[in-house]
Symmetry: C2
Subunit: 304 residues, 2 copies
């Protein structure tokens, strides 16, 4: 591990701590005005599905993309947290018995196991809804024009033409045998769309021109595809202890992955190519984009 890798991972870890602190505050008992009854079990389920978890890669990408183009860090932190609420809602719903039926996530019981199915469904619904509240709220100090661009991009990245549509295609693929193009499309929607939004959101927050916005959007698209390839490779190769979840599950479930269809060697090569393409898009920004470059490498090389 080189020194720059260490400092990148420290940087990522510090960003995750700041995201965690903001999410704790956004999901505290004080997140609702006094005149509204606090549905305590619902808030507890929302916190269970959101706090203490993960690398917070999506908020990190929002923050770094925004910083690259001179966006306000506090706005980027709030938008990053909104995006993390959408990501966590999707995990809560994907884990449900009628979807992937997972009992644990990150070594803890999933929300429907810790609470019950109804609470998990409502917690996911509420986190999704809350994301739009966080973006639109006066505390997010951004012009209305930019807020509306964020609302529109986030709803399209998360909805039927993005993440939710991808999950629907993924479930259907368990009983069909999609080809390479079909798998790429469903993965671009299911996993890629939110990572693409993360990078595009940074450009929107910074008020970037359409060219830079498109550049970051394409960068996000490429690392989104890379992320899923790396994930599928990890599922085949990593041992369960490193990954913190069961491995070989994709094959057991008949999940459509490019690794299963084209082999691990092909996937390694494609992953490397995508990573170089993503990094190439950043050349325009020079050394200011070092952290985003390292993020692309981190995604390709991560072990968990």
């Amino acid at each position: 591990m080189t020194i720059s890798t260490v400092s990148f991972e420290q940087h990522l870890g510090e960003s995750a701590k700041r995201t965690e602190a903001l999410l704790v505050s956004l999901l505290s008992g004080n997140c609702l005005p006094d005149e509204i009854a606090r549905p305590a079990p619902l808030l507890a389920a929302m916190r269970h599905g959101t706090l203490d978890g993960g690398k917070r890669l999506r908020p990190f990408l929002v923050q770094e993309s925004s910083a690259l183009l001179g966006g306000d860090p506090q706005v980027a932190a709030r938008v990053g947290s909104a995006l993390e609420c959408v990501h966590c809602y999707s995990l809560i719903h994907d884990d449900l018995p009628s979807m992937d039926n997972d009992d644990t996530r990150r070594g803890r019981p999933t929300v429907h196991r810790a609470f019950d199915e109804a609470s998990a469904i409502l917690a996911g619904d509420s986190l999704l809804t809350y994301a739009f509240d966080i973006i639109a709220a006066p505390e997010t100090r951004l012009a209305d024009r930019q807020k509306i661009q964020l609302v529109l991009s986030l709803s399209r990245a998360s909805g039927m033409g993005g993440m939710a549509g991808g999950q629907s295609l993924d479930l259907a693929a368990e009983n069909s045998a999609p080809d390479e193009a079909g798998i790429q499309t469903l993965q671009a929607m299911k996993t890629g769309a939110l990572l693409r939004f993360a990078c595009e959101a940074g450009a929107i927050i910074a008020g970037a021109d359409m060219e830079d916005r498109q550049r970051l959007r394409t960068f996000g698209q490429k690392i989104g595809l890379a992320y899923q390839l790396a994930d599928d490779l990890l599922d085949v190769k990593a041992d369960a202890t490193t990954l913190g979840k069961a491995t070989g599950k994709d094959a057991a479930r008949g999940k459509a992955t490019l690794v299963a269809l084209k082999g691990a060697d092909w996937a390694e090569e494609r992953l490397a190519a995508l990573t170089e393409e993503a990094i190439g898009l950043l050349a325009h920004f020079g050394s200011r984009a070092n952290t985003l470059q390292q993020t692309a490498r981190f995604i390709a090389e991560r072990k968990s």
Copy 2:
């Protein structure tokens, strides 16, 4: 039935037809850009849970509140359809086996019966997400400032401090025994919040001042409480044929209602009082508010 009642119901029916036509178009195969793969089963589940249904009371309230204050009818129609997507998502999720476990709605199989649970969850998620897309989209010809007010009000009316929070309190109430204030709070959140938003949205669309906005918000709040009382009274009194769904279900499920707690006579009186209070708020607008007045009476007197 007086002549004015007949013409009110015709007016409501014509509005429902226009809402239906707009929803058909918003949920058609063309609702996604060409480069996005259409998740056909997801779209079919979304249509099943949204089309051919109901009086479309919420879009009607958006349209009438907006018209009262001079708002653009096309904008009001789009915002009303967005709100109907949120309403239909909530019905799809409430019907799920882990919630109310209903097999039929409006005489047809519920979404999880016609498709499966995963499709119903994803269809609800996608409808909720789509609502924000519809409001933020360029086709909704409204200033960004007003769109952000709509996004913020809708997310708060639908989320943990509104509809979803109310559903969570309602499920918890099956195992506790909330008092009058507790039931009123959960009903104001679960059913009332969206009806309140419908009326407030009209004021936002029309660019009304804070006083008129508050007036319509309070009107919406009162007819929201009235709506739920009328619903609970119908569950006790109506026969199943008129209502198109099973009756007496609230008691069988141990649902917390004011009718169960305080009796039908008390509820009738309270319903009449709320309706007069709501109508009183409209006096300020004179005869221009006739249709909203009739709507308040319709809510109190409806038989289904």
